[in-house]
Amino acid sequence: MTRIGRIRLLVILTAVAALEIACRTDLIDRRVVIPPSEMATSLLRILASGAGNEDIVRTLGMIAAASAISVILGFALGLLIHALPRVRAALDPLFATYYAVPIFIFYPVLIAIFGLSLLPILLIAVATAIVAMIIATLNGLDRVPRVLSKVARVHHMGALATAVRLQLPAAAPYLFTGVKLAVSYGFIAVIASEFILAPAGLGRQIADAYADFDNRRMYALMLLILIIATVVNTVLHAFDLRWAERRGRKIS
């Protein structure tokens, strides 16, 4: 691990240790925050008992579904819009403003229309994530070097072959950024939805635990989400780095 990595680890561990000590010495009231060690043991107990499994599966399933739909549909729409410059120009102000407005406040409207079920959560998550993928797709397709289409003609490649074997790989790093963002936004939207109002799911469980003054359960589940989010983001980031490696470290 690099020196900076070690320092970072030290900083994080020191912060956790400080929190632990502060909680155990009652510097911080236990009714507000419980020691990290207790968060961890509570989580292990919940996981071992299998009581949380249904909600975990439901939440992760939603996130996966929303991400997949956003990525695939977003890519397809991005391709389509890229091929229609006038449409793209018309949609430009929409894309520029989309993430400036709190789309999420439409969640209650969706509940009113579709009832309290999985569908509003899925819809709001896709609505939040899909535009990031569309924008990334447009960006990636823009950055395909123009010389590549000339190379394609020199090699007598048809439109489909050019798209699949040259344009797609050339745009891939930017597309992957879109995937990263889509997953990230989908994650946040699903959890937020479950927290505010949902029949089940990890977010709902945390909200319930809060309402029941069950700090142990609440913090355990918060820790779980923290861990899952960190793992997912780290994995995606690692992939991104792998690609970046191919794209810049000079050896000659």
Binding site: V147, K150, R153, V154, H156, A170, R246, G248, S252
Partner: protein
């Protein structure tokens, strides 16, 4: 294959070729090139020099079939060129056309694999081309880990693998520093001798053209037309040391005599997008 002397037989021919970019939103038609009449002899090294924007790259792309001629005829090996890049023509572009997602080896193999050659044949030709271009030790590297000059070599290797009979080079060394350019020039000469192909090199560097070519065509400012075609008379086994020869200074001087006035005209023009 090496040692063949350019014959007087025409390998490619442009007759009365002009290229006019049609008017589009916001700007009128642009008369970019011509009329141009030129014959490329089989096996010769022909360089084209001229001021910026004179249409040199357009000439190359029309010859390759990448752009249509607005008038006149383009012929390669006796057949009309139109719309499709003919087989046996290889093109090395000005911009870096190496594929960053493939290794150097896979880059070089790209064209040959697409034509459905047998894997053993692919391996043989690619290894050969990479060795010839001095890239054997970098076969597993990715292009963006290499310098600009190396990346152009990858593109040349990719063309070489297909064994074209006519190689078109559009200012391939434009982005490189002067010394690297001279050395790359020697590489192209080696390439030329080894393959026996005809070469058309577009360059803005007079010394490069004078050193490398059998004939140098000097182009006027836009719309580009050939003002003069100079025979250098160099022997085939040449390298960059011919810059020492008195004849070299003479040829370069003649080129500049032709081009000085044209270059000043070109400087006065507002710059438009593609040549």
């Amino acid at each position: 294959m090496s040692g063949t002397v350019p014959s007087s037989e025409a390998h490619a021919r442009l007759q009365g070729v002009t290229r006019v970019y049609p008017p589009a939103a916001g700007h009128p038609a642009v008369h970019a090139l011509g009329p141009v009449d030129i014959e490329l002899r089989k096996g010769e090294f022909f360089a084209v020099v001229g001021p910026s924007g004179c249409g040199k790259s357009t000439l190359l792309e029309v010859l390759a079939g990448l752009q249509p001629a607005t008038s006149g005829t383009v012929e390669f090996e006796g057949r009309r060129v139109s719309g499709v890049v003919p087989d046996n023509i290889g093109v090395v572009f000005q911009e870096d056309a190496s594929f960053p997602w493939l290794t150097v080896w896979d880059n070089a193999a790209f064209g040959l694999r697409r034509s459905g050659a047998a894997p053993t044949e692919v391996r043989r030709r690619v290894d050969d081309a990479l060795a010839f271009m001095g890239l054997r030790d970098f076969a597993r590297a990715y292009p963006l880990q290499l310098s600009g000059g190396m990346r152009q070599r990858v593109c040349i290797a990719r063309t070489l693998v297909l064994q074209p009979r006519l190689i078109l080079l559009d200012e391939p060394f434009g982005a490189l520093d002067a010394q690297t350019r001279l050395l790359m020039g020697e590489e192209v000469l080696r390439l030329w001798r080894r393959t026996g192909a005809s070469i058309l090199l577009i360059t803005h560097a007079l010394d490069e053209a004078a050193m490398l070519a059998d004939r140098v065509g000097a182009m006027s400012a836009r719309p580009g037309r050939f003002i003069e075609v100079i025979e250098t008379g160099w022997m085939r086994e040449r390298d960059s040391t011919i810059v020492r020869e008195p004849a070299f200074a003479e040829i370069t001087g003649r080129l500049w005599d032709n081009l000085r006035g044209e270059s000043m005209k070109a400087l006065g023009h507002s710059s438009m997008a593609a040549e």
